[in-house]
Amino acid sequence: MQPLTGLSSSSPMECSSLSATAPIWQDILAQAMTGELLAAMNYASLSEICDDPAEVADALEHAQGERGHAAAFAAEGRKIGVDVTNNVDAKHWKRLREAFLRCIAERDFIACLIVQEIMLESFAVASYSRVGKVAPGSLGETFARIAAEEEDHVDHAMSILRAERARDAQRFDDKVYRLHLDVMTTLAQMLAKECKDGHCEVCHHTCVKPSLFEVSLSAAELRGASLQQYLKTLDMLGIPGEVTLAWVTQLPV
């Protein structure tokens, strides 16, 4: 497992004009950083079940990339004068990690790709893109750049997953659905407009969602964009649209 400390250590702060909204960006960055660290842990775990040395190298490279993203988010926090913390043991993130580890325990490489690249990365690409559009200056640029980088490695996974589906579509779709019920249910709870089941354990104080409008965002928009990206990614895999529509509409809100 990758060490999680040290990424958010303080360095000389850069003054910024974002002081009024800094606590909001702090929470957004904390969620993003936690997600990146979780992804880094997932790729590191994935490297342990890969047989092909090239796949091992790929997974480790991705893990390093995700750690770089986490560091970039921490650095953006420092620029606006906030300390960006992370908590991969926060309840939702922990459940997502546990779901991934179940795939690792089964040594199911394809399931790992589905969880990380189709489900978690859809969420990351869509939400970072939205944040990238509204966040000012280098903060916005960092979110937009990382969204683009995440999209790039989704493309790589897609070719592997499409080939897998071509071998047995029904089996593949059943697997995606089983993982959808597990992972996307948790993601949907995270993305709900309000955190109905208590504090998420990542936001540094109260829930950031009701304040998102102050930075031209909303929880509904981030959820909508994420689910749209997920549906489009499933379309690219070739899973029938009427099937995935039912899956998504059945998620909790």
Binding site: A169, Q170, D173, D174, K175, V176, Y177, R178, L181, T185, K193, A220, R223, G224, A225, L227, Q228, L231, K232, D235, I239, P240, G241, E242, V243, T244, L245, A246, V248, T249, Q250, V253
Partner: protein
């Protein structure tokens, strides 16, 4: 979620289909009902605010399979594809977004292998003059379905006049939205049958062109962009305007006027004060051998007081598929003629697709009876319209 994933992930793979129907919901209530069916009876329906937040993000996609049969025994398999245009985003401000949605829905139809695609509601309004905006089509053809819509509007007017004991030839006809594809088609079909023709639309140049065309055929037509100038004079009105919401007020209207609301969404404002007017919803047909939706969207995608009633524009695609005439029967704007309407009526009737029993927001305007096959038939349907 509480149920096993086993074999429920993909209950049915998408396979090549004969036809596809592209549509959208005309109200949030209708959209909520679609989402409720997709969620299944074991889950609580989503609150309205969640529906309004989620629906705009859903990319166009197939919602269900539609199987239809003909009285000849022919069968056709189709898909209903929803563009998920939010009901409150039909205005001009969203035109580019909505065209993109229809294009994306069309791409779904092409990918599914549909040989003919009907464009329902605003889909056809968005595309009727811009068929080049559709994606590369391979073996898929598109029809707006407007010819059969016009056929059912004209049949409905004739039937309503008969029910009310009116002589159509002595009537003053007003067409609202006269320069649209449906409105102009209705003008060409109905103008020769009435005493006086009033045409109303927003674009005066198009109105002049339509009036000149009718005059060349020996029918004199009066035109106005100001609807209120005409509404008091008309005793038969066809509302075929492209309105984003039911917002039309006819103003002062002749007592006992017959009004056909053929819009989707409906044209007439629910608060329009038209005492004694005989309003009915036009452009609707009924497929007598029924439809099978998988999953079951009966009464949800076709929200009418009679079974198996569908808008003419969608039925046109089904009729052409049953006829194995995979051709773009209705395309562009302003090409619907009485001859083409008659041809489409004949094709539809061959497969048991007829004018639906008339109704309005208050309910059926005709009594209906169950046929031996379990279908609901209107008592006033003429024997000639019944199969066999």
């Amino acid at each position: 979620m509480g149920h096993s994933a086993t074999s429920v992930a993909t209950p049915r793979q998408t396979i090549d289909v004969d036809f596809a129907l592209i549509g959208h919901q005309e109200s949030w209530r209708a959209a909520a009902d679609v989402i409720a069916v997709l969620r299944g009876p074991e889950r609580t329906p989503l609150p309205d605010d969640e529906i309004k937040d989620i629906l705009p993000w859903i990319p166009p996609r197939a919602v269900c399979h539609v199987d239809v049969g003909s009285i000849t025994g022919a069968k056709a398999r189709g898909l209903y594809i929803d563009s998920f245009i939010p009901p409150d985003r039909l205005e001009a401000a969203y035109v580019h977004e909505n065209i993109a949605r229809v294009r994306s829905a069309a791409a779904c139809a092409i990918k599914a292998g549909a040989r003919i695609v009907s464009l329902g509601g605003f889909s056809s309004i968005l595309i009727e003059g811009n068929f080049d905006l559709l994606p590369e089509r391979h073996d898929t053809v598109f029809t707006t379905g407007n010819t059969l819509t016009v056929a059912f509007i004209v049949q409905g007017i004739k039937k309503m006049c008969a029910l009310e004991g009116r002589d159509l030839s002595k009537s003053t006809l007003l067409i609202v939205g006269a320069t649209g594809d449906v409105g102009s088609g209705c003008a060409r079909c109905l103008a020769p049958l009435v005493r006086r023709v009033l045409l109303s639309a927003r674009n005066v140049e198009r109105l002049r062109r339509l009036a000149a065309e009718l005059e060349a055929d020996g029918v004199e037509a009066e035109i106005a962009t100001d609807l209120q100038r005409f509404s008091a004079h008309a005793d038969v009105v066809v509302c075929a305007a492209s309105l984003a919401s039911p917002s039309l007020f006819l103003g002062r209207i002749a007592p006992d006027a017959i009004v056909c609301d053929a819009g989707y969404p409906k044209n007439l404002s629910p608060s329009a004060d038209m005492p004694n007017a005989k309003v009915f919803l036009g452009g609707l047909g009924q497929i007598t051998t029924g439809m099978k939706f998988t999953p079951d969207f009966h009464g949800v995608l076709n929200r009418h007081p009679f079974p198996d009633v569908v808008h003419g524009c969608l039925l046109e695609g089904m009729a052409l598929a049953l006829e194995h005439r995979f051709e773009p029967f209705s395309q562009g704007r302003g090409f619907i003629t009485p001859h083409r309407v008659e041809e489409m009526e004949t094709i539809a009737a061959c497969h048991g697709i007829y004018l639906a029993p008339l109704y309005n927001a208050d309910g059926p305007l005709e009594h209906a009876v169950h046929s031996p096959e379990g279908m609901l038939w209107s008592m006033s349907d003429s024997a000639a319209l019944l199969p066999g």
